[in-house]
């Protein structure tokens, strides 16, 4: 399957071509180059997935999908302990699934951007960066070892930086891009340290290490390996915007909306989840005691983000917080997974599958939501909800796809989000009912704030003057991706719901991806499914009751009753201010400035003092050399007298 190399090379070439020669291309040519490259990638990815799952298929002996490593070479040798930095392509169920997700969403975004970015200055640059990002993200998911993952991890960080800062004339975009890069890089530092520890103790950077010597060194390492994994998790948490490293993601919405859809909803932000999933065998085998860290970070983030999302007025921010919350769901699902072996008697292993499943479905419907939001913003030229309202008349297609995605994320049966979220809650319930109920509650909050958003945009009070000025309308090239993504959402949802309720016995997501690669048929736990559905419907009903009308007396009353709560949630519980304080007031003002001062005045001052001392001394000595003959003679005489006196005395 060496051809998979082209999955990475195509966008790389497209990036280089557009990056170097872009300014001599017309917008259209540049867009076509990027899109065609991505079309190629998509075709190759789908073919690779087909070949991997259905041509090569399960191993006859183990009954699992085996890892395929079509390419692997030593990129940079390290010379101690035989460590080496490899580059290659690793295909296993999750990387193949990621290939599908990335190429699909990226392709959709490429098409969509034709419309959204039309006439923007720097159109070529935009497509170049998209290609760069796609390349890096694909490289990340097919990484054969943790170091390659880190390499592409950094690259996605940079491309995210470049894309968030695409509108580089806007101060907000500059600040947001800077923040995104620095926060994630700070997290990456821990990732790197984790890699260093891991590499040293296991003598390898490989993901799975099952030779006897490797096991021996794991055993020796004691708490070291969990420590390494946890450090790597911090890196993942940074990329995946887990609390308290989430602060960059809402700001990252300053980038063009298709970018938000691609990077900050569907692909890059799930890199952390992907990383934990990638290292999952290690986590389960060697660091099970440390896994509650993942769970509780996830649970708290999910709750926090959902709470904040309820109060935001910028539609992209609502979606951003919803993304954070949903990724936290995936994290929690991984955290509650306690065993590798699958099968219906092994409920502990459902989480892994559920997490990956949710990753997949979430990528699709969240991309759809973001692209829909992009259409809306494109139409009304504003991100604020109060500029919208009643848009369903103007943007019918967007309205329908948005509704579909909202239903999906809320967890309504027959939409994809239902199946995956249901599995997550099942997994949580199996781990601990407490976690399960908390997650159900958060799922309800999700439904609530999503429908608050939905009604705020498409129903509710219409901002008539604004709409009259802009004539909101849809563009065909921008609606096609929406339609495709919602078809996937509905299709996957309907299929898996029916299969899950046992209507027919076919393949389901678990058949392709499960913790140990065995075939796992999803069957819903009826009580869980029912509970969560009812809860979701209630939440939607509540949202409808509060927000659907032209006037919203209840909402206003609520704001009036809990002004402080609303304000805190709106200000995201002042996390940004805390960061601002720590970075500017503590690190800059109390560390960097003093160091710079110290350098200029103490260290440099010391050398200047040396120079001054030398100068002063020589100035002092210089006056002795006055050039006055008479003074010399006098001194000479005095010396002579002294000498003679000494001779006389002694």
């Amino acid at each position: 399957m060496t051809y998979t190399l082209f999955i990475i090379l195509l966008p790389l070439i497209s990036f280089l071509v557009l990056g170097i020669a872009g300014k001599w291309f017309s917008h259209k040519t540049a867009g076509w180059i990027g899109t065609l490259a991505l079309a190629g990638v998509t075709v190759l990815s789908y073919y690779a997935a087909y070949e991997y799952f259905f041509v090569i298929g399960r191993d006859a002996v183990t009954g699992a999908f085996e890892r395929q490593v079509p390419i692997n070479f030593c990129w940079l040798p390290f010379f101690d302990q035989g460590l080496h930095f490899d580059m290659g392509i690793l295909l296993d169920p999750i990387s193949v699934m990621m290939l599908i997700v990335i190429s699909t969403v990226s392709f959709m975004v490429h098409i969509y951007s034709f419309g959204y970015m039309k006439g923007e200055k720097g159109f070529q640059r935009y497509y170049a960066f998209l290609s760069l990002f796609t390349m890096s993200m694909l490289g990340l998911v097919v990484a054969t070892n943790i170091f390659q993952m880190y390499l592409f991890w950094e690259l996605v960080g940079v491309s995210s930086y470049l894309l968030i800062g695409f509108y580089y004339t806007s101060p907000a975009a500059i600040a947001a891009s800077k923040k995104a890069f620095i926060v994630t890089r700070f997290a990456d530092l821990f990732f790197l340290i984790g890699i260093l520890i891991y590499g040293f103790y296991t003598g390898s950077f490989a993901f799975v290490f099952d030779t006897p010597e490797g096991l021996a060194s794991y055993a020796q390492a004691g708490f070291i390996l969990p420590l390494a994994l946890t450090l790597m998790f911090i890196g993942g948490a940074g990329k995946s915007a887990m609390f308290p490293l989430h602060i960059w993601l809402p700001d990252a919405m300053e980038g063009p909306t298709p970018v938000s859809a691609l990077i900050h909803a569907a692909t890059m932000v799930v890199a952390g989840v992907f990383q934990v999933a990638r290292l999952f065998p290690l986590w389960v085998t060697y660091a099970q005691d440390w896994m509650p860290i993942i769970i509780w970070v996830g649970v708290f983030t999910a709750f926090y983000a959902a709470a904040v999302a309820c109060a935001q007025s910028d539609i992209k921010r609502v979606l951003a917080f919803s993304t954070i919350s949903q990724i936290a769901f995936m994290m929690v699902a991984l955290g509650v997974c306690t065993e590798l072996q699958t099968g219906h008697e092994h409920v502990g292993s459902v989480g892994y599958m559920a997490s990956m499943f949710h990753l997949f479905t979430h990528a699709m419907f969240k991309a759809c939501l973001f692209l829909g939001a992009g259409c809306i913003i494109h139409a009304v030229h504003s991100n604020e909800m109060n500029a919208m309202g009643g848009l369903r008349k103007y943007l019918p297609l967007t309205h329908i796809t948005f509704l579909v995605s909202c239903l999906a994320i809320s967890g309504i049966p027959f939409f994809s989000g239902f199946s995956s979220k249901d599995e997550i809650i099942t997994a949580c319930m199996a781990y601990s009912p407490a976690v399960g109920y908390i997650m159900t509650g958060i799922a309800a909050m999700t439904a609530f704030y999503m429908f608050r958003l939905y009604y705020g945009i498409f129903w509710g009070t219409e901002n008539k003057e604004l709409h009259a000025a802009h004539h909101p309308h849809e563009t065909k090239v921008m609606t096609w991706p929406l339609i495709i993504l919602s078809i996937i959402t509905v299709g996957v949802g309907a299929y898996t719901t029916l299969a899950g309720f046992g209507m027919f016995d076919g393949y389901s997501f678990g058949s392709l991806i499960s913790a140990d690669g065995q075939d796992y048929r999803i069957h819903f736990d009826t009580s869980v499914a029912l509970t969560s559905t009812i809860v979701a419907i209630c939440a939607i009903g509540l949202a409808t009751w509060i927000f659907k009308g032209e006037r919203q007396p209840i909402a206003d009353k609520l704001y009036a009753t809990f002004p402080r709560l609303h304000r805190w949630a709106y200000k995201r519980f002042y996390m940004d201010e805390v960061y601002q304080f720590v970075t500017h007031k503590i690190i800059f003002a109390c560390v960097s400035k003093p160091i710079a001062w110290f350098d200029r005045h103490v260290v440099d001052g010391f050398f200047n003092f040396l120079a001054w001392g030398t100068n002063a001394t020589s100035n002092g000595i210089k006056t002795l050399q006055s050039g006055r003959v008479q003074q010399y003679a006098l001194v000479y005489l005095v010396g002579t007298i002294l000498l003679i006196a000494m001779l006389l005395i002694f």
Binding site: L634, L637, V638, T640, I641, I644, A645, L648
Partner: protein
């Protein structure tokens, strides 16, 4: 108290007095004049010692040549007084005075405490050291054991160099 003693004392007083005057007077032309007196006194001392040729040379070269040079130089440089002397700080002047006095004092102490084996000035001076001119002349031009031809030639070359040097340095450009 013989005649030589009286003459010596008078001359010594004369010389010492004008030496001191010559360095303390404020007007430089006077300083030059006092120097002239000192030189004459010195010549007198040479005569007293019986070195008549030396005395004559002293008067001719010093009094007749060098002092005249000084006078001309003083006149050429236009300023007759050492006006700047006033600006000298008291401390510096005192230091110079003390140094000079201590130096001279120390010297006198050494002279007085040291027992020189010395003849007396007067009758018993041996003829040997009277140094007649003929002897001086032959000594100056003698390259032998007792001769001083080499320093003589050196001085003559030096004088030649000085003539040329003086001409070149003082020449108007």
């Amino acid at each position: 108290m013989n005649t030589e003693s009286i003459v010596f004392l008078v001359l010594a007083f004369f010389v010492a007095l004008f030496s001191v005057l010559s360095v303390t007077t404020k007007r430089i032309i006077r300083a030059a004049t006092y120097l002239l007196f000192v030189l004459f006194g010195t010549a007198g001392l040479y005569f007293l010692l019986g070195y008549t040729f030396l005395g004559a040379v002293q008067i001719m070269v010093y009094a007749g040549g060098i002092v005249v040079l000084y006078i001309f130089a003083i006149m050429l440089t236009g300023k007759t007084g050492d006006a700047k002397q006033h600006t000298l700080t008291v401390g510096k002047r005192a230091a110079a005075l003390v140094a000079a006095l201590v130096g001279a004092g120390l010297l006198m102490f050494v002279i007085i405490t040291h027992q020189f084996v010395s003849q007396q000035l007067g009758a018993d001076i041996t003829n040997e050291s009277a140094a007649p001119i003929s002897q001086i002349g032959s000594s100056l031009l003698n390259a032998g054991e007792e001769g001083n031809l080499l320093p003589f030639e050196a001085v003559s070359v030096l004088l030649l160099a000085c003539i040329i040097g003086g001409l070149i340095i003082a020449r108007k450009r």
